[in-house]
């Protein structure tokens, strides 16, 4: 990896260099009930709108990679035949400016299924390969447990990564494209004290975590506690609304529906994000539902993320961003659910 530093003021020039592309980043969306700023990923029109010191965003950045609804193909229907046209729905590179390590790690996890699985998904691949990612370091919030999930730092899956050192940023350069762009800017080689400062920052961050999840033997424990009464308790609280999947950076499940125009000349196949907590997720034609009770669906979500995915890829499908717990209307959050399954006092 190549390291550089860049003065705080010069960052605007990096933005300007990329400004002919759509730039997406954390922007202020308003105030929450405690008068605290709320952020979300959205299109950024000028550098000043980009809030690189944001705490978290309400939603993850996944909608740019996995749109909530997407047309997978369109059909032209003729008298006795039809023609199918496939579009991966991205024609221009996009820049994502200011992703935290958890969100970049989320894409690295999605890559495992969507890029490296048996049937790689072109819709995701096309976007993943055409989104230029600039990461930025973060400050742990009370709900963050990424350190437990080993996702508080990120090693790959981005183009360049910025760490705030005060009057300058430390840059980790991961791709040739990023290097070439930076070459045109006023950047410096890091001095020994920059390395020291960088490590000091990392250590300080590590000490700031409040929430945590004990993942020791978790796959086994989830298997053992499949019948645990705590699932029923969480299930009774769960509203089966699917909000958690909506905000989660790693939830990727979906449903497909076809629709046809009234004149029967054009049709399309649409994909829409789904949630395994919604009641008909596993219902089949004829009415049989493989997970009719709320707790079986809630349990399945944990099972997939913290057991099945670990079994397949040696890592969990949760980056510990805590968004689901923050968004949940019934106040269900990952650290508490897992602690209760582990029979820890909470």
């Amino acid at each position: 990896m190549i390291f550089k530093t860049i003065k705080r003021d010069e960052l605007a020039n990096l933005y300007a260099k990329l400004a002919q592309h759509l730039i997406v980043g954390p922007v202020r969306k308003g105030l929450d009930k405690n008068n605290k700023a709320m952020y979300d990923f959205d299109r950024v029109d000028k550098f000043a709108d980009l809030c690189l010191d944001y705490d978290t965003t309400k939603h993850s950045a996944k909608k740019y990679f996995l749109p909530f609804t997407e047309t997978l193909c369109t059909f032209k229907i003729f008298k006795d035949s039809w023609h199918k046209k496939v579009d991966y729905n991205i024609n221009e590179p996009i820049v994502m400016f200011g992703l935290h390590p958890c969100d970049i790690n989320a894409f690295n996890k999605l890559d495992k299924v969507l890029l490296e699985g048996v049937y790689p998904t072109p819709y995701y691949a096309a976007k993943r390969k055409n989104i230029f990612i600039i990461g930025v370091d973060c400050q742990p919030q009370p709900w963050c447990f990424c350190r437990s999930m080993d996702t508080d730092t990120v090693l790959h899956g981005f183009d360049l990564f910025l760490t705030d050192l005060g009057d300058r940023y430390f840059i980790e350069i991961n791709t040739a494209t990023a290097y070439e762009i930076l070459q045109q800017l006023d950047i410096q080689d890091p001095a020994p004290q920059d390395h020291q400062l960088f490590l000091q920052k990392t250590n300080e961050k590590a000490d700031k975590f409040i929430a945590s999840v004990d993942t020791t033997d978790l796959t086994k424990i989830l298997d053992m506690e499949f019948q645990s009464p705590v699932w029923q308790e969480w299930g009774d609280r769960c509203l089966s609304c699917g909000t958690c999947a909506n905000v989660c950076p790693t939830c990727y499940c979906y449903g497909v529906e076809e629709e046809v125009d009234l004149d029967l000349k054009n049709a399309r196949k649409n994909k829409h994000s789904y949630s395994c907590n919604l009641i008909d997720f596993a219902e089949v034609a004829g009415g049989h539902n493989f997970r009719p009770e709320s707790h079986t669906r809630l349990k399945y979500r944990y099972y997939h993320k913290h057991r099945g995915f670990v079994e397949a890829f040696e890592e969990s499908l949760c980056v510990g961003c805590g968004r689901c717990g923050q968004a949940c209307l019934a106040d269900i959050n990952v650290p508490e659910v897992i602690a209760s399954v582990r029979q820890e006092k909470i």
């Binding site: 221009e92 890029l115 072109p122 499949f226 629709e259």
Partner: protein
């Protein structure tokens, strides 16, 4: 000066293209045609599907137990087990129950209708491993549909196997499928045992649950039964528990019992998660599982 990022055409990226399943194949469906429709019961018809392009037809082969995704533009796409001999290339039968959006639409279509096919997907019954052994094919209701491919496979090589039993249960006599083939199956030295839940005036056969003929078959078997038998089971969720229990009690090893499981599917390619059992993809690792895997899957049956 601004920097223009290069647009990457993923279809041209070498490192993204896996030989078996290129990215382009993901949403590709073979243009196909319904070449025959055969009514089987009030609610099920057999559809013969032919892939139109000769080259594509010749390269389409499947293993017994696999399924295809079947698509009608603007109406829907759904998984169906291939219910015909795996010897024929690019032409196959689907036996479809009319029960929802797409399938009810199908109940009204005519010959020659153009459809889209992708696949074949999923795991299959390891018929080759069963050579020299007894085979019990146990089906309940629509479960006979995915068993027709392995049945035909066995017929095509009948001498390779020992005793072959088909034990088939349906609710009512008029719900029985493939009735026109029973005589042929029997001619190939297959013992066919059919049982219905509710008999009608015409019914001459046995009545009761499928476990009845199965228990009788097991009771009449010699001591070698547990070491030289394979079982293939497919039916509604409740059936598996009882049937597999009998087989396990009779000493059939869990690795020699195969079941085909049904789950909701929206992609068939391990992406939508709708088919997950625990966190195993039924469309990739299944629909055919051995019973050992089933025992290790939470909430499988």
């Amino acid at each position: 000066m601004e920097q223009k990022l290069k647009f990457v055409n993923i279809l041209k990226e070498k490192n993204l293209q896996r030989p078996a399943h290129g990215l382009k194949a993901f949403e590709y469906s073979y243009p196909a045609e319904i070449t025959n429709i055969y009514p089987m019961t009030e609610n099920e018809r057999l559809y013969q599907i032919k892939i139109r392009d000769e080259e594509e037809r010749n390269s389409f082969s499947f293993k017994p137990g696999q399924f295809v995704m079947f698509e009608v533009p603007g109406i829907g796409e759904a998984p169906f087990s291939i219910s015909s001999s795996s010897v024929r290339k690019g032409v196959f039968d689907l036996c479809i129950r009319h029960i929802g959006n797409l399938t009810n639409f199908l109940s009204q279509v005519k010959l020659g209708m153009r459809v889209g096919i992708s696949g074949p997907f999923g795991s299959s019954f390891p018929i080759e491993d069963m050579v020299g052994q007894n085979i019990l094919l146990i089906a309940g209701g629509l479960g006979i549909v995915p068993l027709r491919a392995p049945i035909l496979s066995v017929l095509e090589n009948r001498s390779r196997y020992r005793k072959v039993d088909i034990i088939y249960g349906a609710k009512k006599p008029r719900e029985l499928l493939y009735t026109y083939e029973y005589e042929m199956w029997k001619k190939f030295d297959i013992s066919l045992n059919i049982i219905v839940d509710q008999a009608d005036e015409t019914w001459q056969g046995d009545t009761g649950l499928i476990t009845k003929p199965l228990a009788a078959r097991i009771a009449g078997a010699g001591p070698a039964f547990s070491t030289n038998s394979y079982a293939i089971v497919c039916g509604p969720p409740v059936m598996y528990k009882f049937v597999c229990k009998l087989l396990i009690e009779a000493g059939v090893p869990a690795r020699k019992i195969f079941v085909s499981l049904e789950r909701r599917m929206h992609c068939g390619r391990g992406k939508c998660c709708r088919c997950n059992i625990g966190s195993t993809y039924t469309c990739l690792d299944g629909p055919v599982f051995d019973y050992w895997s089933v025992m290790n899957l939470k909430e499988a049956i």
